[in-house]
Symmetry: C2
Subunit: 292 residues, 2 copies
């Protein structure tokens, strides 16, 4: 494991909440690690028209995403395209496992959005026992074996392609309508997955009228459940409990945006990102004073 | 008293919180009364540069105010330049006293900002006994008499000019540096007011080394204390207590922006305005169903 320089604030998510948190954090002279996608949030980019983001009347989602990207550029914030698997509380800092890398931050702001999909039957029960959310982390377990990938967006195809390099065989179940663009060896199965089971030490994917028996199953979505991402975090279903300062149940961990509950609105998310960043900055300042 | 058509949501204040609330409310098909100033909020308009309003990088305060104004125009929202003196809870609606008019709304969103100035010594004690916050309401009490106006911004000069039409004599104490632009009859006194007292049934204004004896004193600021504006509202100093839905202690009254506490940030205010509007819209919908 490689260890990176410890930043003041790691922000997970590049929707309006994460972008707003990053902009405020750098304005407060904090070092920031913004983890997400350069395509920003799918939810923003795909929005047809947003009419109530004050100051930007009737803006297309793609244009709002572009405005956010430009603003980050101007502020000198780079988006790191890394997927965080787990956030570990280490006492006076947090370790963020992103693939093979371990990142360090004094505080963490969660801005991952909400998981819209319900977990598949069997998914939670078999997690860690043949079901995984992280291809980078768990691919080595399936070297020379068969893996199924249940992908909820075209972005997951890169993970399936990577698994094909390691595994003997990869079955890909796209849970979306778009055409797939995958290496020829990956077998694409256009059936809606309805559940995951266990049988004779193997995993069974149930889809349509059929079943497929594999060694491991990767369930890949844009966002993972918050208490999955940060063990010990107090969650209320897909939402994280926060107070008006955007503090979660774990000191040093803040949350903002759709993750904290309804309404799911762009400017609400941006406002919360701002508050989370100011709370995190104050927390990091306190830690820095103690480090001296 | 004239009675207006009852609207779903009355919004008091035209800073980022009030503007955001209005935009979301009309998008939710609610009837809206936006009360404030066409110059928007002084705090926004005078900001040198705002660097963390996501999507509008390094924008001048005046330009952000202009963007808000355009957005309201596009959304068909008109700003009513009325100053609300008191909001009365009437059971299933609210009555907003604005000068001689009585406005009606099913719900009220407070977005008035915070009163930055501390009350003057004697101000709270003498309120309603020779001290007033509303020239329009109380001018008739001083017909043919002497009134002092303590104005905290040039906008208050219009009120002093109006009082001059009614009173025998008006003394104007500007609590700001800008030049005054007042009718010649108004006596401008460039001394910092330090307190208001009572003596022999008259009011005494103490400023600099001197005192002035008058019949009535008008203390005029951009914002009044929230529990002054809405009797019975639970306040914590200059702030109103709210929960994450922006509900105050009074059902049907919501608050957003600087009024709800720090951080005093534009995008935080806009985000809260959005949430307040959605909560108010749901409340108004419920009332409408009951009205049927």
């Amino acid at each position: 494991m490689e260890t990176a320089k410890r930043v003041d604030i790691a922000i997970i998510g590049t929707g309006p909440a994460g972008v707003s948190a990053a902009l405020t954090a750098v304005n407060r002279n904090k070092t920031v690690l913004l983890l997400g996608s350069r395509e920003m949030s799918e939810k923003v980019a795909k929005a047809h028209e947003i009419r109530n983001y004050p100051g930007l009347p009737s803006i297309k989602g793609a244009d709002l995403a572009e405005a956010f990207r430009k603003h980050l550029d101007e502020a000198g914030v780079t988006i790191e395209e890394k997927r965080v698997g787990t956030v570990y509380a280490m006492g006076d800092y947090f370790a963020l496992q992103a693939g093979e890398e371990m990142l360090e931050a004094r505080t963490v702001i969660l801005a991952t959005g909400v998981v819209q999909a319900n977990p598949l039957p069997g998914e939670k029960e078999l997690l860690g026992r043949g079901v995984s959310y992280c291809a980078t982390c768990d691919a080595p377990l399936y070297r020379g074996k068969t893996a199924a990938v249940i992908g909820y967006s075209p972005r997951e195809e890169a993970e399936a392609a990577f698994l094909q390099e390691v595994c003997e065989k990869v079955l890909y179940f796209p849970m979306y309508k778009e055409e797939t663009d995958l290496p020829a060896e990956v077998e694409v199965i256009r059936e809606k997955v309805t559940g995951i089971e266990e049988a004779d030490g193997k995993r069974v994917v149930r889809a349509g009228e059929n079943t497929w028996t594999v060694d491991g199953v990767f369930v890949l979505r844009e966002a993972v459940a918050p208490d999955q991402l940060v063990p010990g975090l107090e969650a209320d279903g897909a939402h994280v409990r926060v107070n008006r300062k955007m503090e979660t149940s774990l000191p040093g961990v803040f949350a903002c945006g759709d993750l904290t509950g309804t309404p799911y609105q762009y400017v609400k998310a941006a406002g919360e990102g701002n508050v989370a960043a100011i709370s995190a900055a104050m927390y990091a300042d306190k830690l820095r004073r103690e480090e001296k």
